[in-house]
């Protein structure tokens, strides 16, 4: 699939936004000002962006506890996200959700999720709604390697085929569920191999390679839009930070992350390819980097200077209506 210059710029910008956002949240967390459990997506950007570049606001995605990247890729506002992570009233979720629950239904983002494996059933529902509404929309559930074992995920694969839903299940295999290696917890060679057990195509793709992801994603999404049913896609990739902020990662090999960063960082691979092939110039990329850096800086300042919720907010939005 060939991408226009503007699409390439967009892809790079999104990946850079995610990286810069996560790097910054990492630093900010260290200052002690960001509360709660925070899971960063740095290193996995090509997956979220490779899929979401194909989507519009009618298309739905469901994410995991590691949701920032999917949110940004799906078009959720960065200022709102940063405010949310800081627990401010002008956050995407009014400060009630925090990092693990950022959602923006208008953008088709059905939520990060604190429950491993909770997204796939919801995405079956989004796919079902699309089918009934005949709007040609698709729905994508992102799960981790750990989440790929959860019964809810496996059930959803079956249901998606039985109901022939326009759904795509993306297993982001970053090698670990917390400190547990996927080689140990996943009982077959590739997660994608499970597709056959549920009557759908399964594809393994290098999740560091935006172009590879973009292509595989495009095919699956096209088939789903055309009524061809679900696909299971496994992105093999790496996370750069700990499971959550505060994780010392002593379970990982020495230099494991360093080596990945040096050899197959998704931004690096992307830059190399687009500049070598003359699709974009280094100057264009540098300009984006600069803009994004300023944008993230501004979002942090915006968040820090924003007001927190007040007592009056505690009991609102529990129900649409309740006496």
């Amino acid at each position: 699939m060939s991408l226009s210059e503007s699409k390439l710029l967009q892809a790079y910008r999104k990946m850079r936004q995610i990286r810069a956002f996560e790097d910054r949240v990492h630093d900010e967390f260290a200052t002690g000002e960001i509360p709660g459990f925070v899971h960063l997506y740095a290193g996995e950007e090509a997956s979220a962006v490779g899929f979401c570049m194909h989507l519009n606001d009618e298309d739905r995605i469901a994410s995991t506890h590691r949701g920032h990247g999917h949110c940004i890729a799906k078009g959720v506002e960065i200022n709102g996200m940063m405010s949310e992570i800081y627990g401010r009233r002008n956050g995407t979720c009014a400060g009630k959700g925090g990092s693990m629950h950022i959602a923006d239904l208008e953008k088709g983002m059905m939520g990060a999720n604190g429950i491993v494996g909770a997204g796939p059933p919801l995405i079956c529902g989004a796919g079902l709604a699309a089918k009934f509404r005949k709007n040609g929309a698709v729905a994508i559930a992102f799960v981790g390697d750990g989440g790929s074992n959860q019964g809810t995920t496996l059930e959803s694969l079956n249901l998606a085929t039985v109901w022939n839903l326009p759904c795509i299940f993306v297993a982001e295999n970053n090698g670990y569920a917390e400190s547990t290696g996927s080689k140990w917890s996943v009982s077959c060679e590739n997660i994608a191999d499970r597709a056959a057990a549920f009557g759908m195509p399964g594809v393994v793709v290098d999740g560091h390679d935006f172009f590879a992801v973009y292509e595989v994603a495009g095919e699956a999404i096209k088939r789903a839009r055309e009524g061809g049913g679900p696909t299971l896609i496994e992105c093999k990739l790496n996370r750069y930070y700990g499971h959550f902020e505060g994780d010392a990662q002593t379970y990982r090999g020495v230099d494991e992350v360093k080596k990945v960063k040096e050899s197959k960082d998704c931004l690096m691979l992307f830059s190399k390819r687009v500049t070598e092939q003359g699709l974009l110039t280094q100057a264009q990329l540098d300009a984006i980097d600069k803009e994004v850096a300023a944008e993230i800086e501004a979002s942090v300042e915006h968040a820090k200077s924003s007001a927190k919720p007040t007592a009056a907010d505690l009991m609102t939005d529990v129900y649409v209506s309740y006496p």
Binding site: R60, A62, G91, T92, C93, A94, G95, K96, G97, H101, A103, D104, L105, E106, M110, G111, N113, G114, I115, A118, P120, P121, L122, I123, C124, G125, A126, L128, A129, A130, F132, R133, A139, G151, T152, E155, S156, N158, L159, V162, W163, T316, D317, V318, Y319, V320, S321, Y322, P323
Partner: protein, 333 residues
């Protein structure tokens, strides 16, 4: 003469009418149609006890069968609800909530709050509750206290065909997730049900019998047991005011307290197990808010702290009986 329908058919009619009225209403559940992938009749079952029988002929593919994967399809219903549909998903027996509760209580129930208000999840979960069919420990529980405990959920427990229809219509039109509890022992109960469409608002308790001596709040099937007890007690000169809350979340505490202010005495009848039950919930709320009206202890009549037994002898002892209710009332006079 007014038209009569069974409790079961009243629910069926509510579903049919709402599905005809609103294209976004869909229904799903195991064998809700029946016969998928089989050679014989389609719509062979219409639900395990026939509640959705005949709907497929009326609404076509908007009523769907599912594999036996409650997390997947109830989660799908929650997801579809968040995407503009109004799904009615059947959890065949409430006892099965243990395989899918997450999608109900952490997902559907919390979307609106967690997402800062920017979600509506008009999901109805229809489910069978209660003992009496000798269905043993895993098919006879009430469990609605668990759902009532969860902020974000509404819990509806009709006791008559009339209420079943009107409350189901309201449940479907309501914009919050609703757990609609159908007591399996009531399915055959006949009662007056208007043919037209009508919605019964939540949070409106029904005073099913007036009386000035003792207030008896009873839920679901227990309304009928309480009425039996009230009839017996009336012969002894004790007048019970029997109140059916109809929804446990929200709970129309005002109507209950108003009655207690008059009678000074309260018995709560709840087929659940006793601990952290609806009986305890109502007792505690009334005690906190209307203590000065109480002339004596609030009595709770519940199932005992044991699983529902299979044996008919034991199950009959397990379910609160009119006799036990009457006994509890008498201790207050």
């Amino acid at each position: 003469m007014a038209r009569e329908l069974t409790f079961k058919d009243a629910i069926n009619e509510a579903l049919a009418q709402e599905m005809a009225r609103d294209e976004t209403v869909i229904a799903m559940g195991e064998d809700n149609v029946g016969g998928m992938g089989a050679e014989g009749e389609i719509d062979a079952w219409g639900g395990v006890l026939g509640v959705t029988k005949g709907l497929h002929a009326k609404v076509g593919d908007r009523i769907m069968d599912t594999p036996i994967t409650e997390s997947a399809f109830i989660g799908a219903a929650a997801g579809a609800a968040a995407c503009g549909m109004r799904p009615v998903a059947e959890l065949m027996f409430i006892d099965f909530m243990g395989v899918c509760f997450d999608q109900i209580f952490n997902q559907a129930a919390k979307f609106k709050y967690m997402f800062g208000g920017k979600a509506e999840t008009p999901l109805v979960v229809r489910t069978m509750i209660g003992a009496g069919l000798r269905a043993a420990s895993q098919h006879s529980q009430c469990l609605y206290p668990i759902f009532t405990h969860i902020p974000g959920l509404k819990v509806v427990i009709p006791s008559t065909p009339y209420d079943a229809k009107g409350l189901m219509i309201q449940s479907i039109r309501d914009n919050d997730p609703v757990i609609f509890c159908e007591h399996k022992s009531l399915y055959g109960l006949k009662g007056e049900v208007p043919e037209g469409s009508y919605a019964i608002p939540f949070n409106e308790a029904n005073v099913v019998r007036e009386g000035g001596d003792v207030t008896v709040v009873a839920i679901g099937m227990m309304v009928h047991k309480a009425l039996e007890a009230a009839t017996a007690l009336a012969k002894e000169g004790i007048q019970c005011e029997v109140i059916d809350p109809r929804t446990t979340s929200p709970l129309d505490l005002d109507t209950i307290i108003e009655s207690v202010e008059n009678t000074g005495r309260l018995v709560v009848v709840d087929e659940s197990n006793p601990r952290c039950s609806m009986a305890a919930d109502i007792s505690a709320q009334v005690t906190e808010q209307a203590f000065s009206s109480l002339k004596g202890p609030v009595r709770m009549v519940t199932a005992p702290h044991c699983p529902p037994p299979f044996s008919d002898v034991l199950e009959d002892l397990y379910i609160p009986s009119p006799e036990k209710i009457a006994e509890a009332v008498r201790t207050l006079k």
